[in-house]
């Protein structure tokens, strides 16, 4: 459950889940929606997969992501969006939103 909270704490990852609610999307389609590099998006996808919130389907070179949210996780996603959890970390360059030492 800790991995789910970690995954939902980041606004970018929440946006990915919101996009996947509409339909399954390829990694490229998802990455095009965000002004971040592909490796950064890949790190976000990894966090979401480790939390079992999305599922990856590889066909040739195309990777398609499918939503895999339980009802409780869906509700948590809604709460996190309403209360804007983690939005202060949106400018953080790290994909995992961890503070960095200067």
């Amino acid at each position: 459950m800790n991995s789910v909270f970690k995954a939902l704490a980041d606004p970018t990852r929440r946006r990915v889940l919101e996009l996947l609610k509409v339909r399954p999307m390829t990694a490229g389609e998802l990455s095009d929606q965000f002004p971040v590099s592909k490796p950064t998006m890949s790190a976000h996808f990894t966090v979401l997969r480790e939390a079992d919130l999305i599922e990856m389907n590889k066909a040739g070179k195309t990777i398609t992501y499918h939503l895999k949210l339980s009802v409780l996780e869906d509700a948590l996603l809604g709460f996190a969006a309403v209360f804007r959890v983690g939005t202060q970390a949106q400018d953080d360059p790290s994909p995992l939103s961890t503070p960095q030492k200067v």
Partner: protein, 136 residues
């Protein structure tokens, strides 16, 4: 994955049976009233449905479908899961708090309403044209 689901199902049905037997034993020994036993068993059944339905969207096999159909089935699974979870919680809440004379009818109305929505949703999902794009 399927064997894990079967184990969970067996464990859950076992828990319901043990709860019912325990409550019957408590009633036999005058520890609880008959009304309490009836309410408690129905609450457990309602919450069980809610917990079980919570995982419906995680177990839908839709990876080999076309994108449009996968989107429709994903949306249907999510709506159905939400309906069953809400119906289960509503069922349990009615049996926990409503007067016993009303609880049977009201809980069946809530559960029946949920089932009707799910069936209509499934019918729409199955009969809708394959070329239709998913709703946004």
């Amino acid at each position: 994955m399927i064997s894990r689901q079967i184990v969970h199902g067996v464990l859950w049905s076992g828990a319901i049976l043990v709860t019912a037997l325990g409550l019957k034993w408590a009633q036999h020994n005058h520890l609880v009233s008959g009304d309490f036993v009836e309410r408690a068993v129905e609450v457990v059944i309602g919450l069980g449905l809610a917990v079980y339905s919570n995982f419906i969207p995680k177990t839908v096999p839709g990876l080999k479908l076309s994108p449009a159909r996968a989107a429709r089935f994903q949306a249907a699974a999510r709506l159905n899961a939400w309906m069953f979870v809400l119906a289960g919680i509503g069922f349990a809440a009615i049996w926990a708090f409503a007067p016993l004379s009303l609880a049977g009818t009201a809980s069946m109305a809530v559960m029946g309403g949920g089932v009707v929505v799910v069936l209509v949703n499934l019918a729409i999902c199955i009969i809708s044209p394959k070329s239709a794009s998913p709703a946004h």
